[in-house]
Symmetry: none
Subunit: 195 residues, 4 copies
DNA sequence: CATGAATGAGCCTTCATTCAT
DNA sequence: GATGAATGAAGGCTCATTCAT
């Protein structure tokens, strides 16, 4: 693996463990097994490292969403959404401190908002993808006429997001089984008609 | 107003505007119109100021939740929850950067987790309050038998929480009307049976 | 003496000894007997310290020039100019490395040019002062009609300036007597008619 | 052109534009169109590059001085000195920042003083050359008996030197015509007897 | 209680130089 | 000779905290 990836992985570790504020370039370098100066051969500055790591988050969710588009009309909606919800809960939980960190430095956020917009990045993309999926399923008659796709998407992902937030806040580590059970309750509540 | 409150208000302003990382004691003192030294006559340290401000957040939501307990059995459930959801959306939106900031300093979080637990503080309290309310209404037969109070509470507040998060992330400022409309869509989706 | 002056004096020492490029804030602080952080309680940054010191240079020359205005019409022109030329030679010699340093950081120079202009500062002020003096003496008929006051001033101070430059370059330390002798040769060459 | 010269020219450009302190090896390499590593295949270190460039300065002045030796006894003294003075003014003006930079790093100066002395280099050489010329002209009876050749040389070159210094300091760019006019005033003042 | 100068640890970043390819 | 990634020492500067007044 090349040094740039090594640095990125080290940075992810350190950032998740210590938070953005307490992450020093010195420690990233140490974790990456290189000199501090080397960081700057591969990244513009510390902010650049953070953003690089940030963009690498939510990988499972993203791929679950991609898979979701391929399951339109197949199986049941609830069943299709399960891996998405589970991935969301997992990824949100694992990335929460990284994602939230941006609010401790509003200038970073400000500086990159248009960049995020241009690349169509950001946490809201997931909601849009679920909404799109639900719209298609509704078109196929597989969902109630009254269902509001956008709201359904927001309820699903919003509850996962806040659950992840609170788990992090409380320092509570949930096993995959517990997470799966929670997700099932959410999905049964949102899509009760299915068996 | 005594100096302690003046400092707290100044700190809230500065923290919300600049984020925790970019908030200096010098700037808090300037905003409060006092010397840096005075901060330490009223608070143990900067962390103490931050926590003091943090505990003062979500005021509207808290009072809406208190009011909610008094409306059990009255009006409609959806109607009763509206001010709660609206307050949640507003407060979450206005406090998001302050709330999230704690994840940029996990050691602060760690250090105060048991304190939060002792005082039964934290964002999850709201969910519990809504859950309690819904259970009572369900006992009164005003809600479907299949409804899962905890999940319903999480769906409601979770969607508001994530919506607030994303508004902050995107730098989008929503008018109260837009917020109200959003909340209504959420509530109609969760409690469709009511008229 | 207050700390600000202590820092300024220490900085002058260090700057003259080591040059701007090799002068560190750490060393200034050590020489001033204070912490590095204290430098920033009294100066905006290192550049600010340098400029402060720079403005304090050429003190003898400045006061000699002030005195010069008071000697119009008295004694002989050559005699009046002697302390000026001597002070110029001394001050230029002692401050040359500080003065020249600004050319190693053209951005500092650029940034402060208008400031210099506003305060009517800069090495050219001396030439103007001598020119003004000579004009007055010429008006009084104490100088040849053909004499060009500005050029005479430039010849006088220019030769002192370059002499100081070369002394510094060669690392040659001249005694006051040698300097005085040199100045006399200059003055006799420029104002030969006087006895 | 070989790479060594390419580097030297690039370095001259960059040094004049940015000053010694703000000139990095990276930028020299970029300007020379080669890698940073290549610099060290042709020069010992950055200091070596600087000194190489420094020695290449004042080219016009040097050749004017050479020509001067050939004009002894010809034309008029003033006329002979004009190209020398003009070249001095031009070269001093164009090289001032490079020449002065050495004072921002006294250790470089110190380290190379004896080298300069050995090679009979340095800015004082010009003064000696003019002095030598004037002595010869005086021997030929083409100058007043009272004229002090060394002082005359210092007055001439010193005023040009300081004028160049001040132009650089003030950021004033003088056209060749203005420079010529200035030089003429100097020369007429120093050698008024000629027509 | 209020002050604000002094502190000093520690941060991010730069940059000349090296060396394996 | 040419390269450029890796280095690591060092630099300027910030900032929470203390303490004498």
């Amino acid at each position: 693996m090349d040094l740039k990836n090594k640095i990125a992985e080290a940075a992810e570790q350190v950032l998740l463990a210590n938070g953005l504020a307490r992450t020093t370039t010195k420690e990233i370098a140490r974790a990456a097994g290189c000199s501090e100066g080397s960081l700057y051969n591969h990244f513009k500055n510390k902010e650049d490292i953070y953003l690089h790591v940030l963009r690498g988050q939510l990988k499972h969710l993203m791929s679950a969403l991609t898979a979701l588009q391929g399951s339109i009309g197949k199986e049941t909606v609830r069943r299709n959404l399960e891996p998405v919800a589970l991935a969301a809960l997992e990824d949100f939980t694992g990335s929460m401190s990284l994602i939230c960190a941006i609010f401790s430095e509003p200038d970073i956020l400000q500086r990159h908002r248009e960049g995020f917009a241009l690349r169509n990045e950001g946490p809201h993309r997931a909601n849009e993808a679920v909404e799109a999926y639900l719209s298609r399923e509704k078109d196929l008659g597989r969902l109630r006429e009254e269902m509001d796709p956008r709201i359904a998407a927001d309820l699903l992902l919003g509850s996962c997001f806040q659950h992840a937030f609170q788990s992090n806040f409380l320092g509570k580590v949930e096993s995959r089984e517990v997470q799966k059970a929670y997700v099932d309750r959410i999905l049964h509540s949102l899509f009760p008609s299915e068996l």
